[in-house]
């Protein structure tokens, strides 16, 4: 099994597994499988521009960022300055969460702290363009409290994740 994973690659095996699920679903109910594919195509169309930006950022990071620079601003030696960078970058990052995994994986290889990766991913919960919609449904006071709590908890999340990932 391990040899198969190594040969084909876990990433391709994952895709093959999902395609198999679709094939089985299609045999059972073709309409459902086609509806799922339609959602897939709609999502793909929506995320392609963001994906383009992410791949451009990866290229730029490969070009200008070396492990030393990443460690300086986002590594263990970054001190407190890494936190606001991770929180603000998370809040400003557009598109779905999984679009950012490739870039974060690249930065992790270059020395970015697990804590700051987790903080970045958590602070993405604060969606500035969607705040008016939230206010409409839940009221301004609640949204302000919720937003402040999510920002504070993004840092706490980062600290906890790092603490536990480094434990044996």
């Amino acid at each position: 099994m391990k040899k198969i994973v190594q040969k084909i690659g876990a990433n391709w095996l994952f895709l093959i597994a999902v395609v198999l699920v679709y094939l089985i679903l299609g045999l059972w109910n073709l309409q459902l499988a086609l509806a799922g594919l339609e959602v897939f195509l709609g999502l793909l169309k929506k995320i392609l521009p963001v994906l383009g930006i992410v791949f451009l950022l990866i290229f730029v990071s490969n070009l200008f960022l070396n492990p030393k620079t990443v460690a300086k601003y986002l590594g263990t030696g970054a001190g407190t300055r890494g936190w606001p960078i991770a929180v603000i970058a998370g809040i400003l990052s557009a598109g779905p969460i999984y679009m950012w995994y490739p870039l974060l994986g690249e930065l992790k290889k270059k020395g970015m702290r697990d804590a700051l990766i987790a903080t970045f991913l958590y602070s993405r919960a604060v969606k500035i363009p969607l705040l008016p919609m939230m206010v409409y449904y839940f009221g301004l006071k609640l949204v302000v409290i919720l937003t402040i709590l999510m920002i504070l908890f993004s840092v706490l999340n980062g600290l906890l994740v790092e603490r536990l990932t480094t434990q044996n």
């Binding site: 876990a10 990433n11 070009l63 999984y98 919960a125 409290i145 709590l149 999340n157 906890l160 994740v161």
Partner: protein
């Protein structure tokens, strides 16, 4: 800037694309599947009316749901109208945007299994805590 640096950067990008494209395609296909198999009305039927249990249910279902956060606000708004507690709805919304069960295989492959499991687990618990704290703070502030 020397040409070898550009070449190295392009090679790194190409490797990243080769690694991430099948994973991203798999995640998108899974989201399509969940969105098709789980109708939005389903969410209003999962709550029990128990104020202690509902935030946990909200967080659990928010974590397996997929779609834009806007959808979670729409569902959350509708749930509130049907009498579901605010803490349950908030736990649902927060875990929707912070926990990604469907994306877990992708996160594990790109950022590490331990990291992905811990981050999502902690985020799930935090969704309940944030929901309860928000309700309490909103109540205290009148």
């Amino acid at each position: 800037m020397e040409p070898s640096r550009w070449k190295r950067a392009a090679k790194g990008l190409l490797n990243n694309i080769k690694m991430s494209i099948p994973i991203l395609a798999g995640v998108l296909l899974l989201i399509g599947l969940v969105n098709t198999l789980v109708p939005k009305e389903f969410f209003s039927k999962i709550f029990t009316g128990n104020r202690a249990l509902d935030p946990l249910i909200g967080a659990l279902f928010g974590s397996v749901a997929a779609g834009t956060p806007l959808t979670s606000y729409l569902i959350g708004g509708e749930l509130l109208k049907t009498g579901i507690s605010l803490a349950a709805v908030l736990a649902f919304i927060v875990s929707w945007v912070t926990v990604g069960t469907i994306q877990l295989p992708a996160e594990s492959l790109m950022l590490g299994k331990k990291f992905a499991l811990l981050r999502n687990g902690i985020s799930l618990i935090m969704a309940i805590i944030i929901a309860v704290l928000t309700v309490l703070a909103t109540g205290i502030l009148g």
